[in-house]
């Protein structure tokens, strides 16, 4: 078997080891690669800047724990900006693990900024039904959530009493690994005009780009890169910036093996034509 044939039939594990080691490198030795800020991120930050103290926003945690490695930096950055501006937060989720993500990443920033539970922020947790649920809470929040995530009755949460339907919310921010952005665009923005901001995983950025272009989505961040730019815009580089360098290494490995795959393929075809 010629060298090229062996290259073409390379064992998968060689690629997987190369991927893991090169991605781990920036975490061991910080690379600090430079980055240009895109207009999407600047527009996202200025939209949040416009919020006044006392305004209420709906934060929809529609990502599982698996997506935190991508959007964790963005979650923490949004919590920092909202708490710095005294904006009140009501959190919901269309994903079973979403309420855990809120508790582990969003809540600590709020509590360290002195936010009181039930008055300044509420975590209502997960409710099944996807688009059904999102359509229902716009009309009547307490019909779907008679209790919050921790089991406290709705009556004991003053913030939930005040913010019972769409009219109480200045805007919606969804951290989205699925189609929640589409649900909110249809059931909140199209129906009631409430601006929808989306922080999709990079996967979903192109998926929702037509909605952003058509005006159904107000502002959008481009996955982990958008979160890293947003971190720099609010002057708090953290989880996302560290992840971006590791991400660059990962994508370089993919491109390298695509090139290798083609070298093997083209080389083999030339060799066979010569025989």
């Amino acid at each position: 078997m010629s060298a090229l044939e062996r290259l073409a039939k390379m064992d998968r594990r060689v690629m997987y080891w190369a991927m893991l080691l090169l991605i781990a490198l920036p975490y061991a030795v910080p690379l600090g690669l430079p980055m240009q800020i895109s207009t999407y991120s600047t527009e996202f930050k200025t939209t949040i800047d416009a919020l006044a103290p006392g305004d209420v926003v709906l934060v929809s945690m529609d990502i599982g724990l698996g997506s935190v490695s991508e959007l964790g930096g963005g979650i923490i950055a949004l919590a920092k900006q909202l708490s710095a501006q005294g904006v009140k937060v009501v959190a919901v989720s269309t994903v079973a693990e979403g309420s855990l993500v809120f508790d582990q990443y969003f809540r600590p920033v709020l509590t360290s900024a002195g936010y009181g539970y039930g008055v300044d922020y509420v975590n209502l947790g997960y409710a099944a039904g996807d688009e059904t649920m999102i359509a229902s809470i716009a009309e009547n929040m307490r019909e779907v959530y008679s209790r919050d995530y921790a089991g406290n009755d709705a009556a004991s949460l003053p913030l939930l009493q005040a913010a019972d339907d769409y009219s109480a919310y200045r805007l919606v921010v969804t951290f989205d690994a699925g189609t929640a952005t589409g649900f909110y665009a249809r059931q909140w923005q199209a129906k009631y005009g409430t601006p929808v901001l989306s922080v999709p995983t990079a996967v979903n950025f192109s998926y929702f780009y037509p909605l952003y272009q058509a005006g159904s989505v107000e502002a959008i961040l481009n996955g982990p890169r958008g979160c890293a730019e947003y971190e720099q815009l609010i002057g708090a580089p953290g989880l996302a910036n560290q992840g971006i360098d590791a991400l660059s290494m990962g994508q370089l490995v993919v491109i390298a093996f695509i090139v290798l795959g083609n070298v093997a393929f083209v080389g083999e075809r030339l060799r066979r034509r010569k025989q």
Binding site: M19, L65, D103, G129, T132, A150, P210, Q251, F257, N262
Partner: protein
């Protein structure tokens, strides 16, 4: 044929529910909106019961594996499911025990299985992205271009890749995106009508 087995009844239920949900979207009539809202709420409630049905089937299947094949893994699969349910319902999901379970066992497992997807991208791309035809070449070139665009270091490897990549992503692929989206949406609506009217399922098996 007794009332129970008549196919027309589930079809009638489906048509009624579907028509009501659609109609409420096109009128601002309050009673229609609340009827559609409560119908969607019914969907949530039935989904809850369906999950219990799914749990029985899961326990039954794994139970058979334990008996027939002495499978330790099926034992762990059943025990961990029932254990999670016991803690989650008896102590509520926000209890410290449940959040310890989810953040220290479920999260690492979930993220590690998720990382397979990143690894599998390399082996799939290596095997398939070979310039064997113009079409395969287009997919390969577009993928590589966008990956370079999304990397801060990409701008230094290939100057101008950011504007070019944004142009490819926002303009050139927009036409294909829209055409594909419109086509599948048309297909989904018509297939939805066939499915609700009961035209589809029984026929293909003949």
């Amino acid at each position: 044929m007794s009332l129970i087995n008549r196919r027309e009844i589930p079809i009638a239920i489906g048509v009624a529910a579907c028509t009501l949900v659609i109609a409420s979207y096109f009128t601002d009539n309050a009673s229609l909106a609340s009827a559609s809202g409560s119908l969607q709420l019914w969907g949530i409630i039935i989904a809850g019961f369906a999950t219990l049905l799914g749990l029985f089937s899961y326990v039954a299947y794994n139970g058979r594996q334990i008996v027939k094949k002495r499978s330790v893994y099926s034992g762990v699969a059943v025990a961990s499911a029932l254990g999670t349910i016991a803690i989650g319902l008896a102590l509520s999901p926000s209890s410290s025990q449940y959040s310890w379970l989810t953040s220290n066992i479920l999260t690492p497992l979930s993220m590690s299985v998720g990382s397979f997807i990143g690894f599998f991208i390399v082996s799939a791309a290596f095997r398939t992205f070979r310039a064997r035809s113009l079409e395969a070449g287009i997919v390969l070139a577009a993928a590589a271009m966008i990956m370079l665009k999304n990397m801060p270091v990409g701008e230094y490897l290939l100057p101008g890749v950011l504007p070019l990549g944004n142009w490819l992503n926002d303009i050139v692929s927009l036409g294909g995106n829209r055409g594909f989206t419109i086509a599948f949406a048309v297909g989904a609506i018509i297939a939805g009508v066939r499915q609700i009217l009961g035209f589809e399922r029984g026929r293909v098996a003949k």
